[in-house]
């Protein structure tokens, strides 16, 4: 599944940077019914984690009230060059990941 990650390619040491992520997921609420009355089972992303050179810097628990194709924006202090890793975990064993690198000067 596609994911869009926006991390600045370069930052000054100590600079506060914004990280934006967008990933494909239907986020089926589990509260909707089909035309013949059957409940559509819940199928959502439940957890999101961002790690910066291995250390967790941001985590979120998501609920059915998060819109389809979840968008998350958050901040971190640029400490050192390296890699951001993103992980989405959800219902029915769903798991996806992405990464982005940064150069800190």
């Amino acid at each position: 599944m596609a994911a869009l990650i926006n991390v600045p390619a370069k930052a000054r040491r100590g600079e506060i940077i914004e990280i934006r992520t967008l990933t494909s997921h239907i986020m089926e609420t589990g509260f909707r019914h089909t035309a013949d009355g059957a409940l559509v089972p819940r199928d959502i992303i439940t957890n999101f984690t961002c790690r910066y050179n291995g250390a967790e810097i941001f985590r979120a628990d998501l609920f059915p009230a998060i819109a389809a194709n979840p968008y998350l924006s958050f901040f971190t202090v640029a400490k050192e060059s390296g890699k951001f890793e993103f992980e989405w975990i959800g219902d029915n064993g769903y798991s996806s990941s992405a990464s982005a690198s940064i150069t800190v000067e």
């Binding site: 869009l4 494909s24 239907i26 819109a67 194709n69 968008y71």
Partner: protein, 259 residues
């Protein structure tokens, strides 16, 4: 809910008794973008916050993926889409000589699949078809729309125009009653736009997914309590062609974001 919608629709009719069909002058044509709130515009403007771009990315992957018994990818014939597909979507629906009628971009993709890739057609509104058509149309972002300029399309543009002007459904409304005569007003809190199809396939917040112009037209038809034409029906293609010719000169925005 339906009841209150009905009241507001009835009120709209009551306050505008003389509904004369009149086309919008070219210099007054406006994209649906101009009717949106700043937050929704911002969502479209930034590619990393525009959820339609997720589909463009999927389409880019499909473009180079071999498929069908011919084991060919789109790229095997068309090469780099950034060059070969630039401006193409701005000319669609386009006249197909073999079929002697206009075909939509979705139909062109499926014709390519059956004729050149020997692959089964992708269903209308399926993720793969939307992704491919979003990827192709995205290559025309910024290109002025010229669909309908081909003289062979004239009778089909006329057919689409007639359908646009024709009252239908239990509300007995034609497209023109809202989108020519009453744009800029509001219907149940939502702005009425000119219905310019500049950004399809587009991401609708209502749908929470990407959808085609045909899906949008069908939901308008449901809105006026009319029987919607089937996907791919000649009437829908003619309407799409007329709408694109009506948006002549407006830049393509695919993938647009709309409420």
């Amino acid at each position: 809910m339906s009841f209150w919608r009905a009241i507001s629709a009835a009120a709209l009719l009551a306050t505008t008794p003389a509904l004369l069909a009149g086309e919008i002058p070219p210099d007054a044509r406006r994209s649906g973008y101009s009717f949106m709130a700043p937050d929704t515009r911002a969502m479209q403007d930034d590619d990393t916050s525009n959820p339609g771009m997720l589909f463009v990315l999927d389409g880019e992957a499909l473009w180079t993926k071999k498929t069908g018994s011919a084991d060919k990818a789109c790229a095997d014939c068309h090469g780099d889409a950034r060059g070969s597909m630039k401006g193409v979507a701005a000319r669609y629906p386009a006249f197909d000589k073999a079929l002697a009628r206009p075909v939509t971009l979705d139909q062109r993709i499926n014709l390519c699949r059956s004729n050149h890739q020997q692959a089964p057609a992708l269903p209308y509104e399926s993720r793969d078809l939307l992704a491919l058509s979003a990827f192709v149309a995205h290559q025309s972002r910024g290109t002025a729309i010229t669909a309908g300029d081909d003289p062979q399309l004239k009778p089909f543009v006329e057919q689409g125009r007639d359908l646009f002007m024709q009252r239908e459904g239990q509300l007995n409304l034609a497209c023109t009653n809202c989108h020519d005569d009453n744009f800029n007003k509001r219907l149940a809190g939502a702005p009425i736009t000119q219905g310019q199809p500049t950004g399809y396939p587009l991401y609708r917040l209502e749908w929470q997914t990407l959808g085609s112009l045909e899906r949008r037209l069908r939901s308008c038809m449901t809105g006026v309590r009319a029987q919607a034409y089937d996907y791919g029906a000649p009437e829908l293609v003619a309407l799409e062609l007329y709408l694109m010719s009506r948006a002549h000169g407006l830049p393509m925005e695919t993938p647009a974001v709309r409420p």
